[in-house]
């Protein structure tokens, strides 16, 4: 056992008063620990091996096999027309060169209109969506809502979360006509699913003792929610609200593709007309705004907390 010997040598070479045989077991706790380690090393196999991520060997191999079978099936059934891809590569190169230099000027008026419309939509839909998601979220928290309310609210959340914004937008455009109102309603509805679910989970994770204490003062239900529950979930919820504003702005760029207003409509038109330099300008502006929002939300979150 070379490893064991190495430990022993190092321990015995320490220039300390505990050197020697008699002192080794009694005086220094560090030395006792060293002995324990020596024994453990002596009992274990000689080479150290990294512990596996999944402890059960059967599960590990089963998962590995499952992944391999799935990948084989998935890659085997994916139809890719490699000729088309190969043909497309020079076209892709052209496509990318068409992006440069981005043309901010020739469609500047339309771009500004679209961006502003997206910002209004994002702001209004975040406010309305959060306002609507508060009752739904409270109803979907298992620890404060009765069972029928709980299941009803969870149902709303599931439907709202299942559909991507674009699918919702198709239907809202059908019902309310083209324009930013449909986009605003779409994003509000999508916000309910996102925000309500996180709010419900946060309420479920709260400290019941504080809420209990507020209730013990004789508070009514509303007072109980406002003073016992709300302060516990508020800090995280403000951060999530800003995050949702960021998401809503980004999503407002795609609901426009199906006619629900915002910068997406401008972007789609630019693509359809092969004005790729204008499209590049729009994409760059969006990247810039998302970055600015990110800094802003970081700053606001620090200020609020």
């Amino acid at each position: 056992m070379p490893l064991t010997q190495w430990y022993r040598v190092e321990l015995s070479e320490q220039p300390s008063p505990t050197r020697g045989e008699g002192a080794s077991t009694t005086t220094a706790p560090a030395f006792a620990l060293g002995r324990a380690m020596t024994l453990a090393v002596a009992a274990a196999p000689r080479r150290w091996k990294k512990p596996p991520l999944i402890k059960s060997a059967r599960l590990r191999w089963g998962l590995g096999l499952g992944v391999a079978v799935y990948l084989a099936l998935a890659l085997g059934t994916t139809e890719v027309n490699w000729n088309r891809v190969w043909e497309g590569l020079p076209r892709g190169a052209q496509f990318i060169t068409a992006f440069f230099p981005p043309d901010f000027t020739s469609r500047w008026g339309e771009i500004v209109d679209g961006i502003l419309e997206s910002i209004w939509m994002a702001v209004v839909s975040t406010v309305v969506g959060i306002a609507l998601s508060i009752p739904v979220g409270i109803g979907a928290a298992r620890n404060i809502a009765p069972a029928p309310v709980y299941y009803f609210c969870r149902g709303i959340l599931a439907v709202s979360r299942s559909f991507q914004e674009v699918i919702l937008a198709i239907f809202f455009v059908k019902l309310f006509g083209f324009g930013p109102l449909a986009g605003f309603l779409t994003l509000s509805f999508a916000t309910i699913g996102f925000y309500g679910k996180l709010l419900a989970e946060d309420i479920e994770d709260m400290d019941p003792v504080q809420a209990e204490a507020v209730r013990a003062t004789g508070a009514s239900w509303l007072q109980w929610i406002n003073f016992g529950v709300q302060p516990q979930v508020m800090p995280r919820m403000i951060g999530l609200g800003l995050y949702r504003l960021d998401i809503n702005f980004r999503e407002s760029a795609v609901v426009g593709i199906v006619g629900a207003g915002g910068i997406g409509a401008t972007l789609n038109t630019a693509f359809d007309r092969y004005e790729f330099d204008s499209a590049a300008a729009i994409l760059l502006i969006m990247i810039g705004i998302v970055m600015a929002l990110e800094y802003l939300s970081g700053y606001l979150r620090r200020w609020v907390q």
Binding site: G92, S162, G177, I287, V290
Partner: protein, 271 residues
């Protein structure tokens, strides 16, 4: 604790006067912004159509029931494609996100002044461009089909995964890395034994979370021709086959709920 003197009696107050006024001012400003934005939206709206919406909704709902159950035999393949787009796209996104996040994290990046800004720009641009827009561009390049969808989902996932992953890397316990380094480990060994074990649970959680989101995103990629169940949805809507539309929507709900359940289970098992 703040109190107000009300006729000699002390009354508890949540905030002092100054804070209360600031809060009110903030509410006033926020309300003004909201009302202004809503008015601008309202100006661009044809309200006659909106007032008509409940009738339209009732009409549409009547056309959508009952779902065309027989159509389900044709949905197997599209759903399989959708799952593949989401899964393979997630795998691709994660594989690229790992080096990007390594370069973006302040404590592991090779160079703070050069590599880190590039990595952050990659992350932001990937995050700001929705997967549908990625698909719109990729369909023109690689042609319509599943491959464009996989690439679109992959490109969109890079930013999301890399952002969360680099935040996890920045939050690791430096003492453990130091301990591994003290044993004489070199660069790659420090990463493998000091950093990777600390971020592995976060990494697995992020991957599964993104997969779950990608399932939802991949249901619409077909609208721009990038494969999956969106193609069927688009076809059914344009041919006004509303009973088929309702069946497709039900299938989408079921898929998303199942994937959400799987992802919650896996994350629960990891953390």
């Amino acid at each position: 604790m703040t109190v107000a003197i009300n006729g000699g009696a002390k009354v508890w107050q949540r905030r002092d006067r100054r804070t209360q006024f600031t809060v009110w001012a903030a509410w006033l400003a926020a309300t003004a912004v909201f009302v202004y934005c809503f008015q601008l939206i309202s100006d661009k709206t044809i309200w006659a159509f909106v007032l008509d919406a409940p009738v339209q909704a009732g009409d549409l709902a009547a056309r959508m029931v009952p779902p065309d159950w027989a159509f389900i035999t044709q949905l197997g393949r599209p759903i399989w494609d959708t799952l593949n787009i989401a899964t393979l796209g997630t795998v691709m996104g994660i594989v690229i996100a790992i080096p990007v996040s390594y370069c973006a994290a302040r404590n592991t990046t090779p160079s703070v002044s050069l590599v880190r800004p590039i990595a952050l720009f990659v992350i932001v641009s990937s995050r700001s461009i929705n997967s549908l827009i990625w698909a719109l561009m990729l369909v023109t390049i690689v042609g319509p089909g599943v491959l464009a969808g996989i690439l679109a989902i992959g490109f969109r996932s890079i930013g999301f995964c890399a952002k969360l992953l680099y935040e996890a890397i920045e939050e690791i316990d430096e003492a453990q890395v130091e301990a591994v380094r003290a044993t004489g480990a070199a660069g790659a060994q420090v990463t493998a034994y000091g950093i990777v074990p600390q971020v592995l649970p976060a990494f697995a959680g992020i991957s599964v979370f993104r997969w779950d989101i990608n399932i939802r995103e991949s249901t619409v990629l077909g609208l721009v021709g990038a494969g999956g169940i969106g193609l069927q949805l688009e076809g059914a809507i344009t041919t006004l086959a509303w009973t088929q539309v309702s069946l497709i929507l039900l299938v989408i709900i079921a898929t998303v709920i199942v994937s959400e359940w799987v992802s919650a289970k896996v994350r629960h098992a990891i953390i």
